[in-house]
């Protein structure tokens, strides 16, 4: 049985890669994919702790996180499509006004 700690370290590395993507990229879609990466890293932590403490609550939280991530992806990508129609760009530096 692989120690829980190693899964936590893998999850920490993936989360940091996601943070790096959000901080350094300007393409909106890539930033969104980095957020999905962070959500998945947190899911891995939830499942690792669920096995460690023999609790099913962590797995059910992961189920809800997946549903919410799907909703978030749908609305976020709709926002980017709308922004592309208005600005012809999905560079997040171009979206510096609340109203356009």
């Amino acid at each position: 049985m692989i120690p829980t700690q190693w899964f936590l370290i893998l999850s920490a590395i993936l989360f940091s890669i996601g943070v790096c993507g959000v901080l350094t990229r300007k393409n909106g879609i890539t930033i969104f994919m980095s957020i999905e990466l962070m959500v998945n890293a947190v899911n891995l932590t939830f499942i690792a702790y669920a096995r460690q403490f023999d609790q099913l609550h962590g797995l059910i939280f992961v189920f809800f996180i997946m549903a919410i991530a799907a909703a978030e992806a749908a609305v976020g990508l709709a926002i980017f499509i709308s922004m592309y129609h208005h600005k012809d760009s999905i560079d997040v530096d171009d979206a510096n006004l609340m109203h356009w």
Binding site: S16, T24, K26, I29
Partner: protein
């Protein structure tokens, strides 16, 4: 041990393809790499005795969400998008901050998150156990999530609706 070999191979796959997602200029390559990374995470879930969650990961993430991403990238024709390299100082600060965050997180997890190994009883996390728990204790959040998904559908339709159509129905320009 065979289990450790699988763990390290798929951990390396997950990390390398996650790096491709944030470093590659082409968003299509990034999206496909993210699919590979999610598959590697599904293998991790199998190693953690949660095969139902692995199936959900592949169906929901690799299947539904990433297809949505790919469709939007191809709809907006972003394959040849070139990012202008503005603000180099902030970019390097971002790399520096996130790598410092990663190093400190890994260091403290390695130092303090040492947990006992084997469980006294096998961890049962199949669809039957999860469904039983979900429809007993978590029935209200389950229904709330269904309403949230409905709200997301309506919101996405409203955001992507063209302004010409709204102009026709209401008689004035709404932007």
């Amino acid at each position: 041990m065979f289990e450790y070999l699988i763990f390290f191979f798929f951990a390396a796959v997950a990390v390398i393809f996650a790096l491709v997602v944030i470093l590659h200029r082409n968003p299509v390559v990034g999206a496909l790499s993210l699919v590979v990374s999610f598959f590697a995470l599904a293998v991790m879930y199998v190693l953690l005795d949660a095969p139902f969650m692995a199936a959900l990961q592949i169906i929901v993430y690799s299947g539904a969400i990433m297809v949505l991403f790919l469709f939007v990238i191809m709809l907006l024709n972003l394959q040849h998008e070139k990012e202008p390299s503005t603000r180099p100082v902030q970019q390097w600060l971002g790399y520096l901050t996130s790598s410092a965050f990663a190093i400190s997180l890994v260091y403290y997890l390695g130092k303090y998150a040492v947990m006992s190994g084997a469980l006294p009883v096998p961890f049962i996390a199949d669809a039957r156990a999860i469904g039983r728990r979900m429809f007993e204790a978590y029935i209200f959040p389950f229904e709330a999530v269904s309403i949230l998904l409905l709200a997301a559908i309506v919101g996405a339709l409203m955001l992507t609706g063209r302004s010409e159509q709204r102009e026709n129905t209401s008689g004035e320009v709404i932007r």
